[in-house]
């Protein structure tokens, strides 16, 4: 099975790899894993005024998992929280031309986005109650 050109491109030149400094403001972190293949994915978003201004990822896994998370961070940047919620794994599958055996990689990326958004929301709500 050959990877599509887009997967290879993201794999060779991953976008936004890394992580934010601990304790940085407005950051939400999603950490997910696929017991099926043992892949681990960490995806972070940095939010200002309801808009995702930056996103970073670290993924330990196959080429498709790296490409899926790399693409996810590209897509997240500039989106509002609400828009980000709407990113579906099927969008990633389509963009990267993932074969059926690699669809779970895109599911993982979607889960990571959801987890990062939820984490940000939780922190934001917490900050709000403290301020009150």
């Amino acid at each position: 099975m050959a990877y599509s050109d887009k997967v290879v491109d993201h794999f060779n030149n991953p976008r936004n790899m890394g992580s934010f400094k601990k304790g940085e403001e407005g950051v939400g972190t999603g950490m997910v894993g696929a017991p099926e293949c043992g892949d681990v994915m960490k995806l972070q978003i940095k939010v200002q005024n309801d808009t995702i201004v930056d996103a970073k990822f670290k993924t330990f896994g196959c080429g498709s998992a790296i490409a899926s998370s790399s693409l996810a961070t590209e897509w997240l940047k500039g989106k509002t929280i609400e828009e980000a919620q709407k990113i579906k794994n099927t969008d990633i599958v389509q963009e990267l031309n993932l074969p059926p055996v690699k669809i779970h990689c895109s599911v993982l990326a979607e889960d990571a986005i959801k987890a990062a958004l939820a984490d940000y929301q939780k922190k934001a709500d917490g900050a709000l109650t403290e301020a009150e």
Binding site: M31, V32, G33, A34, P35, E36, C37, G38, D39, V40, K42, K58, F60, D111
Partner: protein
């Protein structure tokens, strides 16, 4: 579907739905060959691998017994012996052989066997996402970074040898952790078998059953994460 009634079947009695022989319409009760016309019967797609090979749903399986049963059925179903038979029998022989091979490959490996059992008893271990072990993930990602540093460090440089020492010790720790997880799994396997052997249907037994399955699932998936990083370490530092 109620699997529990199957799990008490002894090795000799295959508890399958009674059905009719496709050839002579006489009743067959799970035998692979019709009593009356001796025609081979198709293995039902709904049959689980344990039943297919005549084993109860236990996690301890005698490898020799398993192998003997596999060879016995392989001979019985092998397409070579059906070359002069009808097209219907040839198709059944092919289907049964394929099913038998998958069943044997799955049950032969203790980990795959346990994953399969979880699949049967509690839905796929792969589909259900238990809350991720965040500490383990952080550790894996950090280690992955060190691995990358090592890969890009100059050959025979000081950085490289320092990183190698660090990675080697991480590897030892993780290998030990994998062994510990496997030991825990073995204990859970025994617990499962004991519980099944007792065959109790009390609330307590049910709670126990769910706990064992849950712990097995967690251990199996965590083991996969650890195994992957161990493999990566092994292939990088040799």
């Amino acid at each position: 579907m109620d699997h529990h009634t199957h799990s008490i079947a002894g090795p000799r009695e295959l508890q399958m739905a009674r059905s009719m022989c496709w050839h002579c319409q006489s009743e067959v009760a799970g035998e692979y060959f019709c009593d009356r016309c001796v025609k081979v019967q198709p293995v039902s797609k709904d049959l689980d691998y344990f039943t297919c090979l005549g084993f109860p749903r236990r996690l301890k399986i005698d490898q020799h017994q398993l192998e003997a049963k596999f060879y016995e059925l392989s001979r019985a179903f092998h397409p070579d012996f059906y070359q002069n038979k009808s097209a219907a029998e040839q198709t059944i022989s092919l289907g049964n052989s394929a099913m038998l091979n998958i069943a044997y490959r799955t049950l032969r490996d203790p980990i795959q066997r346990a994953e399969y059992l979880l699949d049967l008893e509690a839905g796929s271990v792969k589909e259900i996402r238990n809350s991720p072990p965040a500490d383990l993930f952080e550790e894996i990602l950090e280690l992955q970074e060190t691995l990358n540093e090592y890969r890009t460090a100059g050959r025979a440089s000081e950085t490289e040898s320092a990183l190698r020492v660090k990675l080697q010790s991480e590897r030892n720790t993780l290998e030990q952790r994998q062994r510990d997880m496997e030991a825990t799994l073995q204990q859970l396997f025994v617990e499962w078998d004991t519980l099944q052997d007792r065959g109790e249907t009390t609330d307590q037994a049910r709670t126990n059953r769910d706990r064992i399955l849950k712990q097995m699932r967690e251990n199996l998936s965590n083991r996969t994460y650890v195994k992957n990083i161990v493999n990566d370490l092994a292939s990088t530092i040799g």
